[in-house]
Amino acid sequence: MKRWLPFVGIGMLAALAGISLWLAGRHATPIAPQPGPVDATPAAIQSAQFVDGDGKPRTLAMFSGKVLVVNFWATWCTPCREEMPGFVKLQSRWQDRGVQFVGLAQDDPAKVAAFSRELGINYPLWLGEAEVMALSRRLGNRLGVLPHTVLLDGQGRVIESRIGVYSESVLDSRLAAITGK
């Protein structure tokens, strides 16, 4: 009986777990928010105006006090759509622990509604015009790329700004670290 065999197995599993963690996060590129601009103050972020699927005006201030995951996306952006099922799961998992997801897009309302239905999106998908990408840029998205995800604390302050696909497992860990839950 080779007694060392189980340990080799454990070692390989541990290595695989580590590699999986790395792979899960490899597409996302954290970026630093651009410092300074007045429009990116918490008050400006929370008061920026968007509309919901029914055309009603909305602002992020309605979620004041919660950790916000603000995701800039578009229906034509394949990587954006690939990460959103993970956000749906995380919204369910974290909704009772003070976390709220919001999607922001400059897009065709009909396409957004169809996409929301098809994927069963369980968080608000709001729309805007050029101000959507303008806000994204002010929050550090220098290149104007999608997806762009920003984590805000309960007062609307930027905790993190990240471009690229945000994997479910990495974001889950991040939310746990931020909320301490």
Partner: protein
Amino acid sequence: MTRITSILATACLACATAAAAPPPADEPLDPDKAFHPEARLVAGDPVANGNTERHGIDIDYRIAPGYYLYRSRLRFEVSPPTLLIGAPDLPPGIEVNDPFIGKSAIFRERVTIHLPFVVSIAKPGRYKVKIIAQGCAEDRLCYSPFPQEVVVNIPPGYRVNDAPAPSVPRGIPR
């Protein structure tokens, strides 16, 4: 026991190294580097199915590896508008089938888009071609519509046969 310790230490090291790996060094490129356009005055290029000649502006795009442009999202505008151009002659590109938006065409690597002059002899001068483009880095991220600008000079006394024929292939299917 030493062997077991060694195995566990190796496993832990592999795990920690992988988990703590820094973000990839391949930061996304600036749009102008990912999708680099150049303008070229062109004339005297025989059209494949006739005896007439092409004259206008060729926009040569060099697209970085792993990046692609959406064919249907390209827009062109020339200023000053005294130089009239017709509908852009876009190569068919590579057809892709998106599960949500359906079939679309993309350009990779290199592509030349022809902007035909509406009049056969263009007025000399310096013209700007403003481009609105949209594209993605494969599986990573997409660029929201971004503006680009290229310049083409039409020299005094320019005639349609003065410019060299284009040398760049029109779209490379993959």
